[in-house]
Structures are given as C-alpha cells and as structure tokens.
Symmetry: C2
Subunit: 341 residues, 2 copies
DNA sequence: GGCCGTAGTCGAAGCGCTTCGACCCTTCTA
DNA sequence: TAGAAGGGTCGAAGCGCTTCGACTACGGCC
C-alpha cells in the first residue's frame, strides 16, 4: 500500500507538505503542488481512511438510518437513500447504512466510536427513542420527517398539511363536493409517524373552508382491503365523487376496482394521489398527484449536514412546498344531465 | 471522549489488557475480565473506529454497491440491501453504501483508502467494468448476480435457469401447451445483466423437453405497454393459455387487462410470476410464483464475505434453488367441454 | 540598511488502538 | 526438586495521517 511518506519521498518533499497539498490548509507554491500531484497520480495514492480519521477526528462518513421494515413506501425510501449517497459523494462524504433495528443503540454506537461525523435519520416517529441520544451527541443530526419536538434538531420533510390542502383545492376547483380519503394502513397511524395525520389535518381544514364533505378511511395496500374500504365508503357516502389516496400500494387496486365497478376515471370518479411521481405515471390511468419529492429530501438533508459540519447554519426545519401535477385521473364533477364526452 | 487508556486506568490494568479483553486474542483471568468489563460499562466506552482501523488494518466495514437507477426491481434491491446490513451487524460489520455511479473508480477508491475490508456488488453485468479492479484488489469481493467470467470471484444468485424450468414444469403439469413469457423491459436485455436470458434458456429447454410451445416478448412495466404486448401475443398465438411473467411492474397491469378482457384467472388463463413474494401476495389475484429470495441472497453474500475475511473458504458460485409457491393464479388448462366449477 | 511580514517548507508530536516480546508466577513432569 | 510449560499481564513500538510551531528566504518599508 502506498502511503503519504512514499509520495513525499517520490516528490522530494516532506510528508507534511504533501498533507497540505491535499488539504489546502496552507499555501503551497505552484511548482511544489504540481510535483506532488504528479507523484500522487503516478503512485496511485489514496489516503488511508483510518489514519485520516484518527488524526483529524473526522471520518468523512455520514450515517444514514433507514427503516427496517420493507412493507411501506419502499421506493421512496430507496430513492431518498440513493439521493443521500449521491449528494454526499459530491461533498466528499461516504454513507454508512444503518437499519432501524438497532434503534437508539446505533446512535450511541456511532457517536461513541466516531464512525461517522453526522447522522441522518429516516422514518422518524413523533416520539422517537433515537432522538434523546441524538440530541446528546456532539455530532450533527438531521431528520427526514417531523417529530413532535424539533428543538435542537434539523428536519426535512414534505409539507404534508399543505399537500392535503392542495388536493382539497384542486378537487373543489373541479366542482367536487364530497371527498373520501384512502389513507395509509392502520399500522402507520398507530406508529405515530405524523405525516399521515398532518395530511389529514390539512385536508380537513381546507375542506372546511371550501365547504366540502370529507370522509377518511385507513386502508391496507392489498386488493381485498381496498375493495372493502371502497365498498364501505360508497355505502356511507353514495355522493362521493372524488378520492384522495395517500398509500402507494392502494392506487393500482383502487383503479382496477373502479374500472370493474364501471365507474370511469375521471369521468365518473376523480382520483388524486399523494405518491412518488413514478407511481403516478405508471398507473393504469396516469394519476393527478402531489409528488413525494424523495430526491429533494435526500439532497436537502445532506446539505444541512454538510453545512453544520462546516460550522455554518444551525437547526432548521425545512418543509418542502408540495406541487400538484395534473395528469388524467381527476376531472370535473359529473352532474346529472352532463352530456357524455 | 472516553478512551482505552481511561478504561485501563479505571480498572487498574494496562491498556493492552483491556485490548485483549475486547478482542479475546489472549487469555485473561475471569476476575480481570469482569473488572474491565464493568469499567467499560460504567464509562460507556466505545472503541474509536479510526484508531482501530489504523492499528489493526481492519475497518470492520463492508462496502455495498447498489445500482443507481431506481427504475427496476427496487423493492428487491432494498430488501437485499437491508438483509446485507442486518446480517453484517450480526457479524460485527457495518455497511458502507456506494451507488453504481462511481463504478470502477469506487472499487479502486475503497481498495486504496482501506475504507472497507470487503465489497459486495449488486446488479452485476456480464462484462462489468468493476470486475477487473475487484480482481486486482487484495480485499475479498462477492457479487450478487452472475457475470460471464466468475474465476477469482464469489457469486450469489438465484438459479434463474432452474426457475424458468420450474415454471415450465408447473404449467405443463396443469395441462398447458402454449405459453407466453412477458419479460423485462428491452433495456434490461440490452444491459446484459444475464439473469433474464438465463431464465429464458431454462424455460426454452424444458419447454422443448415437455413439448410446449413458447413465445417470449420483452415488455415495459407501464399499463399501455403491457396492453400492447398482450394484444400482440394473443394475435400471434390465440391458443395461449398461460403466462410466465418476469417483470415486477407488469404483473398488476396484466391482471387488470385480463380481467377487462373477460379472461378469468386462473379459469381461462394461468399466470406464473418470477417476483418477490410480497408482490405475488399483494396482487389482485394472489400469484403462483417463483420467489426472488432477496433476503437469502443478501445473507449469503455477507456470509461469504465474512468467511473470506476469516481466511476460510475460497471463491464459490452459489446458485440458490428456486422454489415455486402455489397460490391462486395458475390452474388446469380449460378444455372445450370442461364443466364450469 | 536594518526590520518586519509573509509565503513556503519542514520536523516532530501526537491521535487511540493493536500486537509483539518479555516477564512473572504457578503448576506439572521427570 | 529442578526444569519445562503455560497462563496472565505489562510496556513499548508502531499503524499513516494531521497539525502546530519553527525556520528560511525574500521583498517592502521607513
């Protein structure tokens, strides 16, 4: 393995000079710099990560904790993870993948061992037990999601309340008066992740303002359970003309069901989803949807981490503004006497 | 930060003794061990990762390279990644997440910087440009997937040829004589990942032996493209009574289409999928399927890596035996005069 | 012309750990 | 009962890097 000392000898300078060429922390003459860089190139030198971490007290690693379960919004998680890894690389950081399994212990372990310089936590619950050790840590932490108490922490998330409001507005604008929400699986609500509730409250509030009737039903992603849920909704509110879906897995079954029931989308029933764009585009009827900006969230999280590590900027809660893309699944409310298209 | 020396002082022993308690590389009296362990506990000591890596030349990190693209079998990738991370932890390793973006350079970087002790590569192509630097590296590497040349490398993958054969056998056993394969997107075949071709050759061979007619069509995952593909298949081979689907994204659109065309599954048409169990279970008709054993693959890969790092075992190609689970989407071929159930 | 400030370089002291050789003491064996 | 054989512990030498202080040389200033 080629070391700093080898490079120094090859270039005819001292080890510290090579180090300063690498870090740029002291000025180096152009000629020396060129010579050193040529030696690095020729010898194929890569700094030893362990030695560097030991000496500088910086590992250049960011830990990313992803949820263990693979039953929910997996593509979003994956997309965030990849965005985090990619963005981190552009700032010279690598990413350590932790699973939720270890929970708070993982936070303590990383902090204690100095394995990573900072942590990014996904799938944050309202009262997450990883937060106390994270607050106590001397390393910066950024959450993707929004806990009950955010002081001392940085957070990035979609503004789900605004997303809910946006759905309500769009449907109201199309003339709909009765809306049903097909929500996440009951387990999601029980785990108190918060985002589902925030969407709902945004929806409720704006529906109130606009005079819409709103019905909410949690729902598993399976075909059977979507079928049961939709059945109950139409029983209870036969006047329902629009659905808001916040459950990736439920979109396809819902469209299939409506088709089967001879309810045309969007002519008879409108559907608006809150889901990744990819899901919306691939659906059997391209979905008018509010995007889950996975990449943007990952990128933001890394940028906050990097800023904190550079001593810039403090704690910050960033709620990304939702954007609704009009596709084909939502249209004007059908009223009695409407001419067929 | 509490160090080894702090623990040593607290326990009244030398630093090396603490180190030996931790590593178990020399025998330590029960009383000393107990005293040291109590000190570690009380002080909340965690070994510094950088120092340990520097001194021992082992980082206890395994690098995992996942594909950058998020357009294909994402849940499988995620499941593998999580299985790798979880299994690695049980052996005391952490996982570094690399994206495919850096390609061969990432392999060289990890090797040069000693950031990780070993590498696991996913989404391996037949002639992958990461393989030469991996072969040249002094650290063990394990592939998830099967390249054209495997010498000097360990590989784990599903035996896709056997999976194909298994599908053919199952359908033949149910009396089907004409089978159509809905394959991966054309891009997958062009990228030469190999697994799609292996499935096909397994299918072809067994179909030949069993006297079945086989038709293969690549297909994008979108509803429109599945619709077009199925249309062409029935035009060309009206006698087709069974589908083999190797394309996660295509299963739901296919079932929806068949329903729309009034072809009942499994009464009129049988469907067998090669996909993760989760997809099979959640489909509108639970799919008889050959599972993609994501977890098992991840686990195996880590175990091979760990064995190699321990000096045990050499290069090995492990092809996991496929298993077919009977669910509801495949049944006996309908023949003229069949009584209705 | 002496003095200061600055750019450019070097040497040496660690960072916190592992590991080798050395040492002491007890126990077993001939 | 002497010597060998281990078990248990310690001290010290690194691992490859960063960083601090010190040193040289040079130009500008009064």
């Amino acid at each position: 393995m080629v070391t700093l000392a080898d490079v120094a000898q090859h270039a005819g300078v001292s080890a510290s000079t090579v180090s300063y060429v690498l870090s740029g922390k002291r000025s180096i003459s152009a000629s020396t710099r060129a010579r050193v860089e040529r030696s690095i190139e020729q010898l194929g030198y890569h700094p030893n990560a362990g030695a560097r971490a030991l000496a500088s007290n910086r590992s250049n690693i960011i830990a990313l904790m992803v949820p263990l379960r693979t039953d929910m919004y997996v593509p979003v998680m994956m997309e965030i993870a990849i965005a985090v890894a990619t963005t981190a690389r552009t700032y010279g950081y690598d990413v350590l993948l932790l699973t939720g399994e270890e929970g708070a212990d993982a936070v303590r372990r990383i902090e204690g061992s100095a394995l990573a310089d900072a942590m990014i936590l996904m799938d944050v619950e309202l009262h997450d037990d990883r937060l106390p050790p994270l607050r106590a840590a001397r390393r910066p932490g950024v959450l993707i999601g929004l806990p009950a108490e955010t002081d001392g922490l940085s957070c990035v998330d979609l503004d789900f309340a605004a997303a809910g409001a946006l759905c309500a507005e769009h449907l109201a604008g199309l003339g709909h008066r009765e809306i049903a929400v097909i929500g996440e699986a009951p387990g999601v609500y029980e785990r108190l992740t918060g985002f589902a509730e925030r969407t709902l409250s945004g929806l409720r509030e704006r529906c109130g303002e606009l005079g819409l009737r709103l019905l909410h039903r949690p729902c598993e992603g399976s075909y059977a359970s979507v079928s049961a849920t939709v059945g109950r909704i139409f029983d209870e509110r036969p006047g329902t003309t629009a659905f808001v879906v916040q459950n990736e897995a439920a979109t396809d079954p819902l469209l299939a069901l409506l088709r089967q029931q001879r309810r045309a989308v969007p002519e008879d029933v409108s559907v608006v989803a809150i889901c990744p764009d990819q899901v919306a585009v691939q659906a059997s009827v391209p979905l008018t949807s509010v995007a889950l900006p996975a990449q943007e969230m990952g990128r933001h999280a890394v940028e906050q981490v990097v800023a904190k590590l550079a001593g810039r900027g403090g704690d910050e809660v960033v709620l990304l503004k939702p954007e609704l893309t009009v596709r084909e699944s939502a249209g004007p409310r059908a009223v009695a006497g409407d001419p067929l298209p």
